[in-house]
Subunit: 275 residues, 2 copies
């Protein structure tokens, strides 16, 4: 399979892993987000992912996001696509390593940054209050922030660096995709079906790293509590299912962890893990 296809398959395998406490999976919908919409998002993102094999990161990411929201209009895989776009490019250049993807993201320009801001116009992305000094660069401004981005000549990599302290997708970008590659290695090691391994590595990651989306929505204490709960019950499927239902009821939705697992699945598929 070519890199864009493995990326699409990674999105599908990610959402199919169960139980992944708090997230949509094949056994659990959220009130406003359903499993079928993730299938549709993965299909719709295909053209953007194919373009990402050799096209500019920002523009092809924006295209993947546009395809993802058509026709259901929901944000299902925004963060995962932000990780997959440069990984697909690195894989297509036969350079899928921390150094390889680091070079892809460091090569981004202000044009990539502008496309990233425009991508926020295509769907609703949960963003916490930005630092007081973000002002004109607040992603919630969408395309309106582009003149300020251009004036400061910020690359997409530099925009990500602004968010690395509060968003673990941004931190992957600035940190050589360290967690994504670790997830890929764990997927290679774990037993069971790829769906079972996806769920297991999701829980391991969540136990180790409080989810930054949960922290933005509910505060860092809740994010830390959720990680502690998972850590106490790692490997206990019945308890994890019970936590899954309880997290869903409370709206605790560790979306950033899912994004990183999707990125790790992509790397594992590129390395030849069997479906």
């Amino acid at each position: 399979m070519r890199p864009a296809e493995n990326a699409q398959l990674a999105l599908l395998l990610e959402v199919s892993g169960t139980p992944k406490p708090g997230n949509v999976d094949r056994d659990r919908d959220l009130d406003d987000l359903r499993y079928e919409q993730f299938l549709s998002g993965a299909v719709g993102a295909g053209a953007g992912l194919r373009a990402a094999e050799s096209g500019p990161v920002g523009e092809t990411f924006e295209r993947a996001v546009q395809g993802m929201v058509d026709p259901h209009g929901e944000n299902t895989q925004f963060g995962a696509l932000l990780l997959l776009t440069p990984l697909v490019r690195a894989a297509n250049e036969e350079n899928l390593s921390p150094a390889g993807v680091d070079s892809v993201v460091k090569d981004t320009t202000v044009t990539d940054a502008a496309a990233f801001y425009r991508a926020f116009e295509h769907c609703s992305v949960f963003v916490s209050d930005p630092p007081a000094d973000a002002g004109e660069l607040d992603v919630r401004r969408g395309a309106a922030a582009v003149p300020a981005v251009e004036e400061r000549d910020l690359s997409l990599y530099e925009v990500m660096a602004l968010g690395e302290d509060e968003d673990d997708v941004a931190r992957e970008w600035t940190g050589g995709f360290e967690r994504s590659f670790r997830v890929a290695s764990r997927i290679g090691e774990l037993p069971g079906s790829l769906s079972d391994r996806t769920a297991a590595v999701f829980c391991e990651q969540l136990a180790e790293h409080p989810d930054t989306l949960v922290a933005k929505k509910h505060g860092s204490e809740t994010a830390e509590w959720a990680s502690k709960e998972i850590a106490e019950h790692l490997g206990d499927i019945d308890m994890l299912i019970s936590l899954a239902n309880s997290f869903v009821r409370r709206g605790i939705n560790p979306g950033t962890t899912a994004d990183i697992v999707a990125a790790g699945l992509f790397i594992a598929l590129e390395r030849g893990v069997e479906v």
Copy 2:
């Protein structure tokens, strides 16, 4: 979404509907066929389906089958792709009606027929003993049958006509895709999520029509028995789940019914049913 994307989504929605007694669905694997392989098959078929929008039916079908089996090597959606390929073409020509797809399949040539025979070389397709007079045209011969097909100048439509009595995918081809369009209408009418409607319409179809793949594998009495069991318990989810487990144990796998449901899902998506 463009027709090829709706076809890919139809494949994903089909396998996600549960319970679909005897088939792989999101809650049930078979011994030799797993849910994840269907996800992979849908992704891999993408390039062939995109080519099918305007390319020759036979060649693009063969390409879709080749992509479907890469990298897992299993036949997951051969029959569904045989229905989807001409439907995608008709949809792309804005002529997705029984008459529109009838015209697409009647326009096929001996070149399409040759590609169809070659497609059997890419994966294992269950085929019963052909009629005694099939001889040189036996699909099990794969590419070896192509000279005989060419000598008789048979179109793919004419090859399908040879199988219409024993294979309901072939009968769709020669009968204006009548059941596929009926499935699409039912999907538009039924309540619930698209996955729930997929499972419901699968059971309705199976209750009405003994599955021809089951008949080929286990004889027509078993196929009729399976349909009668489903008919008696339509709408009773607990009994259908119990039948699902019992069919899986006995190897009763109504794959033709699933193929026709995938075709109906595609038509429903093209008509604008919401995901």
